[in-house]
């Protein structure tokens, strides 16, 4: 105990733990640990209640609809729910079984029932997704069978349309008889199943999605690089200028940010088109002849220029916020120790801007990958992105399963990039502002 008397920590512990009970209590005698836990629990509950509206909002308006939309990409019961008997026949038999009498009877019964219930269009649309041209086969057959159909059904149906004997059609129906399907994902990467169920590439002239995914990621990378090249010096200038002047410049950076996206896109049209301001000036200066006006818009160039401009503030702002906190004495110290200005920049200044650069590049890239309206308006033939195809399937062909599959692939690719970024740079390193 002599040692304990000398040890200052032991003395504090003895005093604090209370001589009589041996543990800490509050003024009214309750154990301190429990009282603390309870009050903390109450505070946590209150904090949770505060964010509850936001949580519910995000859940209802964001998570649930996106989840439902994504479900469509692999689940479509348009065929199986409305054609139960023939679906059951498919379930009983093996792939490649030619349709027997039982199958024809089931098909005729299902077609009649679904024509009566007015769901034949849903069935036809589902098959049409995988086998183009078969929707009208279902709807026109539906109109005929509503008037009545007599056995033998195989002959009766083939009399209505000989396409009913097509093995490709039966193979497509077999796949559609299971509501869970990978076909939309296959189609989204230019693949399809043949009559034997093997996965193969679609004809070359039908291939479009893989190329568009590639182009979307490539253009997004180019745009991210351009915003970096243009934005870095501006952010540096903003961060180093005296406050009054940098605020003025900041307004110039933010002004386009506050302008409507469509206004900015249309302004680029006015500037860049062949009869536009830039071409007019070039012709007036005599740099190009009247007949050689440059095509700078309605192609990839137009998409890159307009999107770089529109996304530039997303690069500048995070960079600026990081650069402002960089202590200038580090670079000065490097210079005083003999580093050239380039070495000081490369070894001292630039690494410190990385969190801002990472955040900016991430923002710009992810926004660019999903960009829709600008490429639609100024992209022409060569500046279309995958989002334009998603929009086409949403609003024109009304094939929402396909739109969902394309969107899911896009989402997955962005998440993979995010994960890669986390592995390479570290997400903790991200500084958004």
């Amino acid at each position: 105990m002599a040692n304990a008397a000398l040890d200052p920590h032991a003395a504090i512990a003895t005093t604090a733990s209370g001589v009589e009970t041996g543990r800490l209590t509050t003024a009214d005698g309750k154990p301190l640990a429990r009282a603390l836990a309870r009050s903390q629990r109450r505070a946590r509950r209150r904090a949770f209640l505060l964010v509850l509206p936001l949580l519910a909002f995000i859940l209802i308006t964001f998570v649930v609809p996106i989840g439902q939309m994504l479900q469509r990409s692999f689940y479509n019961d348009g065929f199986s729910a409305n054609m139960p008997e023939v679906s059951a026949w498919f379930a009983r038999t093996e792939r490649g079984t030619p349709p027997d009498e039982e199958a024809w009877t089931a098909l005729a019964a299902d077609l009649t029932a679904s024509a009566e219930a007015r769901t034949i269009g849903v069935v036809g649309t589902r098959i049409n997704y995988d086998l183009s041209g078969s929707r009208s086969l279902f709807t026109s057959t539906g109109r005929q069978v509503r008037r009545g159909i007599e056995p033998p059904y195989d002959r009766a149906l083939q009399e209505i349309d000989e396409k009913w004997a097509d093995p490709q059609l039966w193979s497509t129906m077999r796949e559609a008889s299971i509501p869970v399907t990978a076909n939309f994902y296959l189609a989204a990467v230019d693949r399809q199943r043949d009559a034997e169920g093997n996965i193969r590439q679609v004809e070359e002239r039908q291939q479009v999605y893989v190329m568009l995914f590639g182009r979307t990621f490539w253009l997004s990378a180019v745009i991210t690089a351009l915003t970096f090249v243009l934005g870095f010096p501006i952010a540096h200038l903003l961060a180093t200028l005296p406050m009054r002047r940098s605020n003025l410049l900041m307004i110039l950076v933010l002004l386009p940010f506050w302008t409507s996206l469509l206004v900015r896109t249309t302004s680029w049209m006015v500037l860049l088109q062949q009869q536009g301001v830039v071409n007019d000036i070039l012709v007036w200066l005599g740099i190009i002849g009247g007949g050689q006006r440059l095509q700078m818009i309605y192609n990839q160039t137009g998409t890159i220029i307009a999107m770089t401009h529109i996304l530039l503030p997303f690069m500048i702002l995070p960079l600026y916020s990081v650069m402002r906190t960089i202590n200038p004495s580090y670079v000065r110290a490097a210079r005083s120790l003999g580093a050239t200005s380039w070495t000081a920049f490369r070894r001292i200044y630039f690494p410190q801007t990385l969190p801002g650069l990472g955040a900016g590049a991430m923002l710009v890239f992810i926004l660019a990958v999903g960009y829709y309206i600008t490429p639609a308006l100024v992209g022409g033939a060569s500046g279309q992105l995958i989002s334009n195809m998603i929009a086409m399937h949403m609003t024109d062909t009304l094939n929402w399963s396909m739109a969902a599959a394309l969107a899911a692939i896009l989402l997955a690719a962005v998440l993979v990039l995010y994960w890669l970024y986390d592995r390479l740079v570290g997400v903790d390193n991200l500084k958004l502002g």
Binding site: A117, R118, T119, I120, G121, V122, G124, T125, N128, Y129, S132, G133, S134, R135, S136, T139, R205, Q206, Q207, V208, M211, L212, R215, Q273, Q274, Q275, G276, Y298, A376, L377, G380, A381, S382, Q384, M389, M392, H393, M394, T395, D396, T397, L398, N399, M402
Partner: protein, 356 residues
């Protein structure tokens, strides 16, 4: 007593009008305005039923979403014919009893008075619009282009063209320009060789085409001198020529016409009022009135002669309508079954062709 009265009024104010309203979903812009002026306002004046109008990019999309979600707030919507067929087949629309439609003034039954295909199980046509070729008359002072073949003839008629970014209309136009008569276009297009032929024809002007996405773009491109010829919706060209005095002329030869009309989504909250609205607005007089606001022709034969002057002007609207007889000589009616079947396939090929 006073209190009861007050309560009654309050309930009447909250419940009454909302129950009897017609919720109309339209497209906005000049077209939506024609619905407002020729249909919604006079209907309310006549029947006392209020019409709440809202706009969508394409009303078919919200209909599909609302019916699938089982939460329908739209009573009547204006949709394109193709979407009406598709939604009807999918069971997303109420069937419309044709006996409610108003007969023509000379007593002709409505079924006879509407042009072919303007009435289906779920759809009643309100107007006919068309894709037409148009050119800037200032650019072609001497010889003027007059046919689809001229549109593809970049030697005689130099300058850029603008076309819709999509397979529909362009493939038909290409075949007509290649000498296929309007009546045979879809037979040819139904064969793989026909599709190849159409793309081969499009190849000949691919480098001279700026592709438009929004309907407002072609008149803009024409006006800026960015293109000399355009393949666009007739209403857009007409508006630019009339309202803005642009020197645009329309080539009616080879026009491809389509219909738009009313549909009633399945489970519409005010079904009875919706049907009343459909019947009232598709009578000849309101249809003729709507055609004075926008150059889309009425689909009823008896309405053609009732169309007056362009709204706010002293020129007759008649010659500017796709349905006028002189304009119909080499016209092609868009084949919806074909496009509902092949939409996705041909658009994929078209996009692949564009990118190559």
């Amino acid at each position: 007593m006073k209190r009861v009265l007050f309560l009654g009024t309050a309930i009447g104010l909250i419940g009454g009008p909302a129950l009897a309203d017609v919720n109309l979903l339209s497209w906005g812009g000049a077209y939506g305005n024609s619905h407002l002026e020729a249909y919604a306002k006079p209907f309310t004046d006549e029947t006392g039923t209020a019409v709440n109008m809202s706009d969508a990019d394409n009303p078919a999309t919200p209909i599909k979403a609302q019916v699938e979600a089982g939460n329908v707030s739209i009573d009547v919507a204006s949709v394109e014919y193709a979407d009406a067929v598709r939604l009807c087949d999918e069971g997303a629309l109420e069937t419309i009893d044709t006996s409610i439609l108003v007969a023509a003034e000379d007593g002709t039954a409505a079924e006879e008075d509407f042009i072919d295909g303007a009435i289906t199980e779920c759809f009643v046509g309100t107007d006919v619009y068309s894709m037409v070729l148009a050119f800037n008359a200032d650019k072609y002072a001497d010889a003027k282009p007059a046919s689809p073949a001229d549109f593809f003839d970049t030697e005689s008629f130099p300058g850029k063209r603008t076309m819709r970014k999509g397979a529909k209309f362009n493939l038909e136009l290409a075949l007509m320009a290649d000498g296929v008569p309007a009546a045979e276009v879809y037979d040819v297009l139904a064969t793989p060789e026909g599709v190849d032929r159409a793309f081969a024809k499009l190849d000949t002007i691919k480098d001279d085409v700026i592709w438009w996405e929004a309907g407002a773009q072609p008149p803009q491109l024409l006006a800026d001198g960015e293109v000399n010829m355009a393949y666009a919706f007739n209403g857009r060209i007409f508006n630019a020529a009339q309202a803005d005095g642009q020197p645009f002329e329309i080539i009616w030869d080879g026009q491809i016409y389509e219909m738009e009309g009313w549909v009633v989504p399945k489970g519409a909250p005010n079904l009875e009022e919706a049907m009343e609205f459909v019947a009232w607005t598709t009578a000849p007089a309101p249809q003729a009135r709507a055609a004075e606001f926008i150059s889309y022709g009425p689909p009823r034969r008896s309405a053609a002669s009732m169309v007056g002057n362009i709204e706010g002007g002293d020129q007759p609207m008649g010659p500017h309508l796709p349905t006028s007889e002189a304009n119909m000589t080499n016209a092609l009616g868009s084949d919806l079954d074909f496009w509902v079947d092949h939409d996705a396939e041909l658009n994929e090929r078209f996009n692949s062709w564009l990118a190559s």
